[in-house]
Amino acid sequence: MAHIIGGIGASHAPSMEHVYDAGAEVRESDEWAPLFGPFQEVSEWLGAIKPDRLVVVYNDHMDAFFLDAYPTFALGVAETYPIADEGFGARPFPPIAGDAALGWHIARSLVADEFDITICQELEVDHGVISPLPMVDFSEGDSDWKIPIVPLAVNVILHPLPTPRRCYKLGQALRRAILSYPEDLRVVVAGTGGLSHQLTGTAFGAVREEWDKEFMRLLAEEPETLCDYTHEQLIKLGGTESVEVVNWLAMRGALPATARPIVEAYYAHRIMGYGLAAYDAAGSPA
């Protein structure tokens, strides 16, 4: 039987890719150490607990999915996930290994649980996955990824969006899917996106540090409270694009209520409220 041994909430942003790709000196600079230092802690934690799989709840940014047919929830069931070309040429990373058998099991379990996802045998992943992933899961020495993934994309772009409560319940259904998988795998569930940011209009660049920190506290201590927020409230609190935080809520739903963060970091910088949280779930009763 598979187990969930941890969770990660992490912002995603092209800026994180630019900094990562610029090399260790930039990552460790005074400007970026407040973000990349905590990522290093999470990387070391993952190195110690050695998960067999990462399930990544994220959102695409019109790189795999387009407005002709936009899926509300879309699950990868592929053996490999190529890196998307977002309009500038794809970043020079190898495709990320998947686990088709686990993906298909999750698909069956979610449908049994009345989450009728779009099932993707081919899926290119964009910065929703690969802006935070190299910081915690890429071996620069081996030039390869370490942990196979199962990606699960949530529509946070084209309203109407799935509600925060629905995304939390998706996480709870994901938990059942993993716990019912017969293979003895140790799984970490990640949710990427947010925190506060606003990319259009006169409020472009607005960051809401106070709310972001309160969101991270509520996620740890009272995730059910966050389920009662509407998208309108989230947008007023954190900006139009901050609704990506529902991906963190899905991650939290997959963890035991008693799980608590062992790494928590927040860095408001330029146009982003960057958040990072790692939850240990290995010893927590459900």
Binding site: G87, I157, T163, G201, H231, E232, K236, T240
Partner: protein
């Protein structure tokens, strides 16, 4: 809504959820990409989305007018693209996520789009 045998099936909880799914009380600086934007921006979004493809980026660089010809854009939309009128494109329904792809082929840094956005009020 008048009460009829049919509407009485619609519980208060359902009606509350239906109202909440479409944000309706946002200040003008917090816009949404929703039915109105999606319908308005369908041509512009299709055009900018095409730039994921390197061949489309090459065509844009070589012959911008020929590139635009593919998407049934209106005269006004073509003029907004020619003028790099980011605010006009945004008001025309272009999603920020495909606008970023157009910013790439036009060598426009995001902070410049941000500056125009902030000054658009």
């Amino acid at each position: 809504m008048p009460t009829t045998p049919e509407t009485s099936e619609l519980s208060a909880d359902y009606l509350r959820r239906l109202a909440a799914v479409q944000p309706s009380d946002l200040p003008p600086e917090l816009d949404l990409f929703d039915e109105s934007t999606a319908r308005r921006g369908i041509r512009l979004n299709k055009a900018a989305y095409s730039l994921k493809d390197a061949h489309q980026r090459d065509l844009f660089a070589k012959d911008e007018e020929a590139w635009m010809e593919q998407f049934g854009l209106t005269d006004g939309e073509r003029e907004q693209i020619r003028a790099r009128d980011w605010i006009g494109l945004w008001r025309g329904g272009m999603s920020i996520y495909v606008m970023v792809k157009l910013s790439g082929v036009t060598n426009t840094p995001l902070p410049e789009i941000g500056r125009q956005m902030r000054e658009s009020g």
